[in-house]
């Protein structure tokens, strides 16, 4: 594969070495994303559905409620039933993807689990792959490149995600989105472990522009269950500070309530804005998450048409 990221101009050799190491893992990552995408594609048949377009799609028996203008008389004349002519849906949408690569995403509680950002990258690329197969135009939310379609943009996005993953993480959790056109779609894949007000404000601003959105929260199992015991000193990944706890197990219930509160806030926001929200744990397989995300997207895309 000819995908070797441009060597960064920085002479910082560890960073470069890390970048190269991640670049070396790029094909496997893309393959994993492809594998996820292909299972999903088989499940929903992609974009091949009825919609506005030029191309003939199918004849369907006239049903009550169809407009009489839709009747194809030539086809209907050949049999005893009335048929409606349907065209294939061809409206291309622009989809803006955002995999979170902040420091808190670089975490796995167990060596056998993938890091959250790795799972986010796989899902992003799988989604991108599916979308490009369907002819959608895609772009990254925090990058200046305009939406485009085709295999080339997939590679570009992949490369960009890889580079972000290999870079020193910043603590800037939320991106500054470019001016998004109405009716475009954003997909935010993150752990959403930021301050709640900031998060809701950011989401609200996006929703206010009439943008459709899909939230996929990625959590490590330990972030769900807080499995720690005994005297524990917690340390955040984004210089939030330390917390010394006498008995970690005593916090478990109240922590779970907090987390559920955050998740319900997100769910409520999604319902109000007609967005979707899903949660994915890194110890689960990525395919179901992908399937549900893509189905949600397909439904909303279709619903709009």
């Amino acid at each position: 594969m000819s995908i070797i990221p441009d060597t960064p101009t920085t002479s910082d050799s560890p960073a470069r070495a890390q970048g190269e190491a991640i670049a070396a893992s790029f094909p496997p990552l893309l393959v994993a994303a492809d594998r996820v995408a292909s299972t999903v594609a088989q499940g929903v048949h992609g974009r091949r559905r009825v919609g506005q377009g030029e191309t003939f799609w199918q004849y369907r028996r006239f049903e009550f409620g169809d407009s009489p203008q839709q009747i194809d008389w030539r086809r209907s004349a050949r049999s005893d039933h009335l048929y409606v002519r349907q065209t294939e849906w061809e409206a291309a949408q622009s989809v803006w993807l955002w995999p979170d690569v902040s420091a808190s995403m670089r975490y796995h509680s167990n060596r056998n689990l993938p890091e959250k950002q790795e799972r986010a990258a796989v899902l992003t690329l799988a989604l991108a792959s599916l979308l490009t197969r369907g002819g959608e135009r895609i772009a990254l939310l925090d990058k200046p490149e305009p939406p485009a379609t085709g295999r080339a943009v997939l590679d570009r996005i992949a490369m960009s995600v890889m580079r972000d993953m290999s870079r020193e993480p910043d603590n800037e959790e939320l991106p500054v989105p470019p001016p998004l056109p109405r009716y475009s779609t954003v997909v935010l894949i993150s752990d959403f472990l930021v301050e709640e007000e900031k998060l809701l404000e950011f989401l609200g601003r996006l929703a206010a522009r009439g943008v459709r959105g899909h939230l996929l929260q990625i959590l490590d199992p330990s972030e769900v269950s807080l499995p720690f015991r005994g005297r524990t000193q917690f340390r955040g990944l984004e210089s939030e500070g330390d917390l010394l706890v006498g008995r970690a197990e005593a916090l478990r219930e109240s922590y779970r309530e907090r987390l559920e509160h955050l998740q319900s806030e997100l769910r409520i926001f999604a319902r109000r804005a007609q967005w979707t929200y899903a949660c994915h744990h890194t110890d689960a397989r990525p395919e179901p998450a992908m399937l549900s995300l893509f189905t949600n997207m397909a439904e909303t895309l279709h619903a709009r048409s």
Binding site: E223, R235, E240, L262
Partner: protein, 914 residues
């Protein structure tokens, strides 16, 4: 030392620290365990959560116990506990200690004394009486009967006991034991030296009888040093021509044993150290201290290093010192027959025990000289006589031999006046038969020597009769005429032999008497006078049991004159110096010693050896246990903090520790040194072509195959038969073994280290040739520079590369074996660069050759003999030319400018034509 039965503590006061354990317990309980550190992204959700229980986690009680045990183990280990099962005293009844305190005890006397004191402690605990018998005693008086001592008395007795510098007397000890009348049984412990008195052929040795006598008392334990620990002694010394030769003797054989001798002067300054080694089955070994004779003469004592006993110390007096002797011979005419000359005889006679210098009188007198021999010197000049007189007055001994020159006419520097006129009395005609020698007078310096009656004197010079002639005569013929006359002048002596130093006038020079007489004369010099052997010699200073020289012992008597070898050292004659400070005589213990090893063969005797070897030092084991506990504690703490995910981590940690330990043990290995020798051997047994290992396996394999292909061509076509090519690690391997090194350039070439650079420079300067192959002819366009060239440019910085030119038309490289005009490799057209020709340097061979045609690839053949790489034109001709270039290259590197003459062949032919 604190003792509980068989367990004792070397540093008992440290046990006080055990009292601190409860404090430790309290501290460990009070301090909560360290928190486990957890990285947690969702920490924001944790902030501000109510913490219902802040009570710290307590350290579990079993961990506390573990840590306390750890601390206790460390404290106990520091107190150095020693388990000594041999301490316990067996048997019953009084304790009888038989102690060998002879010369050999000096070496480890402390241990022997400590052992005795420990035994007395043990007896004290059981309230037993103690008898102490020693093998040597300081007094000459007869021994007192043994009497029971209280523990305190016994301790005082032991503390007052010292080793004595002579051999033990087991017979006397035996008498004491046998005189002992004990009511019941006793426990005997023999603190032996491991040596027995020599056994007479028929009778049982007294040491063995003593053993039996001791065993009869009850239980017997013999403590004696291991055979390898029995002290050595210096048994003989000889001042030989090549150095001071010393003989070291041991009593047990069967193992090799190194020994070092240290020679020092009167003031204790170290003069020399010499080592020797006992072969496995030898009882003696010799060491020769070879140092200049002036220094050798200052040797006052030689000691076996790291020992302290009288036997291991050998004292030297002046008589044994090699003296510098001058020799001036007048018989120049006999230069062509040196074996008949006077000088030859004197030389052979004196060489074993003196340093002989030759030269003129003036030259010889410039240095310190003990004796000067003038052989057949007729007339001395006035200045010579004057300087000789001064020298004699200061203590020199001048010995003159008669001869034709002296008989013709002599100066006045003679002990007696010689007859003038018909002074020479000689010839067979004058005697009925040649004269023999009369026995030496008692007053003569030669007294005691035996004048062999085989000595026949045929000619001699005759002394003027005078009243004092008889007093000056040291040796005479049977008819009374003096043969050797001498006279004391000042501090020195003037001696005249009335015959020649060789066998021309008499057969004296052929007899052993001649040598003995010369030795006596040399002994006369430098303050050693005949008085030394005439009267009893008062003790001057004596060795003590530790080989230290101290004041004369009170029991020491004057040493009778005569053969010292017959005097056995003992209380009356302890070894040391005798005589006067000016002329002292060394009396050594070593020559009189002849002990044999004592091995107990009696059944029921408990055998033990001295020293801590039998003790079990518990410290190490305690420390090991503490360390293991520390490791366990470490793992447990890790587990408590949540850093140990599973059982695997624990086993991995344990494995790591084990591996670390093992690697620390194995780390220093001499393999590298051996391998470098092997490498040198392999590289030099045959001529090898070499290539530089680049680290790129493919290129290295190509280089190897290329050079081996070239080697096959060379063996087939030329007289060069190189061995298998050798890959060189340029940073490590020695380059000097290889005439030609092939160095392909790769982009992975690392910059050279300074060391490698200097070694390459050294190699190039001393006639080595390196061919750099940039292998980039295919990649460099017209005027462009390929990657290999770039690498090369970076590489040669810091190397001594001379100015280079393209190979000229008439360069030797074009005709070293084949006539060539271009040098193809895998590629064609690349230029080859060589050093500008300079016939004076390195035989005109360029130290650096640079090409770019990837030669190794063209030469490379696989195991089946087929070429490994296609060539750029694909023609067989190109491969052939590539091989020819290779042949030329090797020829050029090996033979130099031999073919350069061909350059001038046109001119030569032209000249021949004329």
């Amino acid at each position: 030392m604190l003792t509980f039965g068989t367990l004792s503590f070397a540093v008992p006061w440290l046990l006080v620290a055990l009292a601190s354990l409860p404090v430790l317990w309290w501290l460990l309980r009070a301090v909560p365990p360290a928190p486990s550190r957890v990285v947690f992204p969702a920490i924001r959700l944790l902030f501000g959560l109510p913490q219902s229980e802040e009570t710290p986690h307590r350290t579990p009680w079993w961990l506390l116990a573990l840590r306390l045990l750890l601390a206790a183990l460390v404290i106990l280990a520091l107190a150095h506990p020693v388990l000594d099962p041999g301490r316990l005293l067996r048997g019953s009844g009084p304790l009888l200690l038989a102690i060998d305190n002879d010369w050999s005890a000096g070496d480890h006397w402390d241990i022997r004394r400590e052992t005795a004191l420990a035994l007395i402690d043990e007896a004290d605990r059981e309230s037993r009486a103690v008898y102490i018998a020693t093998s040597t005693q300081a007094e000459t008086t007869t021994r007192q009967p043994l009497r029971p001592l209280s523990a305190a008395e016994a301790r005082d007795r032991i503390r007052g006991l010292t080793p004595l510098p002579w051999a033990g007397n087991h017979a006397a000890l035996l008498e004491q034991i046998e005189a002992l009348d004990l009511p019941g049984s006793a426990t005997a412990v023999w603190l032996g030296s491991g040596m027995a008195e020599p056994e007479a052929a028929a009778q049982e040795s007294r040491s063995r009888i003593l053993e039996a006598a001791l065993q009869r008392l009850g239980a017997l334990r013999i403590i004696q040093p291991a055979p390898s620990e029995i002290p050595l002694y210096l048994s003989e010394s000889e001042n030989a021509a090549d150095g001071l030769r010393l003989q070291v003797t041991r009593v047990s054989r069967g193992f090799e044993q190194p020994v070092a001798l240290v020679a020092s002067d009167d003031a204790g300054r170290l003069l020399a150290r010499e080592t020797a080694n006992f072969p496995e089955n030898a009882l003696t070994t010799e060491a020769t201290i070879t140092i200049p004779s002036e220094v050798r003469n200052r040797i006052a004592r030689v000691v076996i290093e790291d020992t302290s006993s009288a036997g291991a110390t050998m004292l030297f007096d002046e008589s044994s010192r090699r003296r510098p002797v001058g020799l001036v011979s007048g018989d120049i005419a006999q230069v062509d027959q040196p074996l008949l000359g006077n000088a030859f005889y004197i030389n052979r006679a004196l060489e074993p025990f003196a340093d002989i210098r030759t030269g003129t009188i003036a030259e010889l007198l410039e240095r310190r000289l003990a004796v000067l021999f003038l052989s057949d010197i007729g007339n001395l000049t006035d200045t010579e006589i004057e300087s000789l007189n001064r020298w004699i007055a200061a203590g020199g001994v001048l010995v003159r031999f008669a001869g034709p020159n002296l008989a013709e006419g002599s100066d006045e520097l003679l002990p007696v006046a010689l007859r003038r006129g018909g002074r020479v009395f000689g010839g067979v005609m004058s005697w009925e038969r040649p004269a023999t020698m009369a026995p030496f007078d008692e007053t003569s310096p030669f007294a005691g020597l035996i004048a062999s009656d085989e000595i026949l004197v045929q000619r001699q010079v005759l002394a003027q009769p005078s009243p004092e002639l008889a007093g000056k005569t040291w040796a005479r013929l049977n008819d009374g005429t003096p043969l050797v006359t001498g006279e004391k002048r000042g501090e020195g002596w003037l001696v005249l032999y009335h015959t020649t130093a060789n066998a021309e006038w008499s057969s004296l020079a052929l007899s052993g008497t001649y040598v003995d007489m010369l030795r006596r004369l040399i002994a006369l010099s430098q303050g050693v006078s005949t008085e030394a052997t005439t009267g009893p010699l008062p003790p001057l200073s004596n060795l003590d049991g530790f080989g230290r020289l101290s004041d004369a012992r009170t029991t020491a008597r004057p040493l009778p004159a005569g053969d010292l070898a017959e005097i056995i050292p003992g209380p009356a004659a302890p070894p040391g110096f005798y005589g006067t400070p000016e002329s002292r005589l060394a009396f050594n213990l070593g020559p009189s010693l002849s002990p044999v090893v004592f091995e107990s063969r009696a059944p029921g005797v408990e055998l033990a050896s001295y020293g801590p070897s039998e003790q079990i030092d518990l410290r190490v084991w305690l420390l090991v246990a503490a360390f293991a506990l520390l490791l366990v504690d470490f793992l447990i703490s890790l587990g408590l903090r949540g850093h140990l995910p599973g059982r695997h981590a624990a086993t991995a940690a344990a494995l790591c520790v084990a591996l670390l330990g093992a690697s620390a043990l194995l780390a220093p290995s001499p393999a590298q040194a051996q391998s470098s020798d092997l490498f040198a051997l392999e590289a030099t047994e045959q001529t090898h072509l070499a290539y530089v290992l680049t680290g790129d396996t493919k290129i290295d394999e190509t280089s190897r195959a290329g050079l081996s292909g070239l080697g096959q061509i060379l063996s087939r076509r030329t007289s060069i038969e190189p061995g298998a090519p050798i890959g060189l690690d340029i940073e490590r391997d020695e380059l000097a073994f290889f005439p030609l090194i092939y160095w392909p350039m790769t982009d992975r070439q690392n910059p050279l280290s300074d060391d490698a650079r200097s070694r390459i420079n050294q190699f190039l300067r001393n006639g080595g040739t390196i061919i750099f192959d940039t292998r980039d002819q295919s990649l460099s366009g017209i005027g462009g520079v390929g990657p290999g060239t770039r690498t090369l440019r970076g590489l040669v910085e810091g190397l001594d590369i001379p100015a280079l030119i393209e190979v000229p038309q008439d360069h030797v490289l074009t005709k070293a074996f084949y006539l060539l005009q271009d040098f193809p490799g895998r590629w064609v057209g690349g230029q080859v660069w060589v050093q500008q020709a300079d016939e004076r340097v390195n035989d005109g061979v360029s130290s650096v050759i640079i090409g770019s045609n990837d030669y190794a690839a063209a030469w490379a053949i696989d195991v089946d003999g087929r070429p490994m790489f296609p060539l750029v034109t694909g023609s067989a001709r190109q491969r052939e030319l590539a091989f020819r270039f290779g042949v030329n290259l090797v020829m050029y590197a090996l033979t130099g400018n031999y073919k350069a003459d061909q350059v001038h062949v046109d001119e030569i032919l032209e000249r021949l034509g004329q």
